[in-house]
Point group: none
Chain length 216, copies 4
DNA sequence: AATGAATGAGGATTCATTCAT
DNA sequence: GATGAATGAATCCTCATTCAT
């Protein structure tokens, strides 16, 4: 966590050593790249791709605008990098789940819960992905799609396994996967649109319906 | 249908009589307004609000750019008018259903089917709404939101009735409505992303899961 | 007065006969032209030539925009017509003076007083002329200039006579005329920029200095 | 002088070295700002604020349009900066006078002469100020007004002193100041509208009348 | 390598003028 | 003759990208 800027705000904003901080910073390239990605996540998540201002990203990342372009050839590439990173983080958390639990039904349940938790903990990630999916729909054949597909595919596989082992009914696995993603999305959205925090209940309630729907 | 430009592309693009077509056209205002809305639907559906170019809309509508502004005070208002019109058409088709059928379960089933059919028949409508809903998520408190809420509310009511009359289990009606919208969306999306046309099966398959999920 | 719209607001706004007034009015062309000029004076005086909106003029004149163009070939011509009309009215009032009094000194005094009175009574006239003179300065060789010159010439002649008959010193008549115009303008400006009404005193005070300056 | 672009037209329009001139220029920011101000003075002086085209200013300044906006946030701000600069230059020249001479009568005389000389030497300055003052009259409460007031106030003070020390009669100082400004303006105008150069005579002739008018 | 000033294509909006009714 | 809807040239401003330092 910490340095990935996903669950904690970037801490590189404060630099407390005695030097003037308007002197050109000497940072390892990776750290720079990270700061840019963090800033980009923040800015893209506010108003989507079009609204985002490269200037603002640069300022937030505390680098020159030219530097942004040294690391990413265009605003769009930067955007895709942000989306990709979010997916990577999500995937990482899901893989932990997948490694720990046994039955497909349990994996599914835990996976969705983790998925929902990840996004409710990182609203900015949710927002870039919302946009990302939008852009996919409007201009399909985008790289973003790839990430979605990956996620979807592993879900499909999982459900297929669930059917095989008798956990689930004979539903269309691909469709069921799609529906599960929707279900998760629905919970996240609900969470952001309401005042009181009933996250766990919502997850249970949603999965209750879903599981009953595909369960035997 | 036909002239409303929703299910059939505007056929006024071709004008085969021998007259010059850069002469000022004389059309009834309603027809003009319609052409503008059609063109706007087309253009907005391609790349969302920001990407759309008023010039392109005007050209497609075969009117001067100034004319667009005579009918709608700004690009944004035009956009909202497009979204509103799409919702009106959808609502109209749903009301027909609602008037015809009896039990909440039947209404729900038929309504979702109609919903899905409407959007798969009118991909551009789907696309503007996708954008609309996503723009809402990024900048909430938009008028678009209102239309969504209306739809959602009537669904919620319907489900509440279904619970009352014993059609459905004691689920959270609001959440169930949300989930149903997601389910429908999922089917539409699936339809656009795959090659073979299995629309009716998909609807059935989706509703099967959903109904089982909330059914008794 | 009355119908010229200079000292009294146009009274054609109210039409009290029993007919619907959204029926196309049948007015003698002269009256129409007058209404347009009145409206134009009002609108041009508010923000100058550039700021004025032909639409607004048409609306105020209660005619269609096309009608404005039937009477005046362009916005600019309309503007010049307005300026010209103001000058005509001014000239008319000055000629009355000139016909009544005897000595150049007296004519001058009375003329300036009348000049000042005319503009303080008709602020909109003052404002179009202010603009008119501006435009002259920026784009000389304008027709407006002609009106100014006419006024100036008669002043010059008057002063020349005054010198001849011993009323005034041997000053440069043309310059003295120019200076008198400035003096008058100064008083008008002062009147519009201050609260209390000391018009007559101001006229006297200004002429006192001026007369002393050119007097023997 | 020289480089301030006030008394000599910018000579950077011609660049005779062999390099391509559509390559990005590297100039000290101050010089750039100066070129923009110079170009703006030129363009604004031609047709006033409204007529001026930012594109034209940019071209004349040999910078990109965006560069203009980097230095001044809007066309209006640029305009005000131009007006302000003109006033600053005028004030600077007047302060030299004020420091050198003794009696109010002498200061007045020398000041007006300098004032007139400044503007006859810098016709474009005169023209922007003419516009500025007139725009003030049409839309008062503008910043430009401030500069005028400053000038007027110091004149008023001066005349008050002149009265106190017996140089002038007991005239209304504020009015006398106003009148002096008009007088000076009159001379400048006359200079621009006539062929032969009789500037010094005109100044003398004008001040002769004015001084006699307010003198004892 | 990092910077940020410079650039100019692009886009929303206005409004004088035209012209079919 | 009168009308006002239609038009599109004109214009301000933004912002992704480049490049000299």
């Amino acid at each position: 966590m910490g340095t990935n800027g996903l669950t904690s705000p970037s801490n590189s904003i404060m630099m407390s050593n005695g030097e003037h901080n308007n002197r050109r910073k000497v940072l390892p390239p990776d750290e720079r790249r990270e700061m840019i990605l963090d800033a980009a996540l923040e800015v893209f998540s506010k108003g989507g791709f079009q609204d985002a201002d490269v200037d603002e990203i640069a300022q937030l990342a505390q680098v020159g605008k030219g530097t942004v372009y040294r690391y990413y050839p265009s605003k769009r590439e930067l955007y895709l990098a942000v989306v990709e990173r979010v997916f990577d983080h999500l995937q990482a958390r899901l893989e932990v789940i997948q490694g720990q639990t046994q039955s497909p039904r349990e994996v599914l349940h835990a996976g969705v819960a983790e998925h929902v938790r990840f996004f409710t903990e990182n609203p900015r990630c949710w927002r870039v992905l919302v946009v990302g999916r939008l852009e996919d729909r409007l201009n399909p054949c985008r790289d973003t799609m790839l990430a979605h597909r990956t996620l979807l595919d592993s879900l499909t596989t999982l459900i297929r396994e669930g059917i095989a082992c008798g956990d689930f009914r004979e539903v269309d696995p691909e469709y069921a996967a799609f529906a599960l993603m929707s279900t998760a999305a629905t919970v996240v959205e609900k969470h952001f649109h309401q005042d009181k925090d009933t996250l766990q209940e919502d997850i249970n309630s949603a999965l209750d319906i879903y599981m009953r729907g595909i369960g035997k």
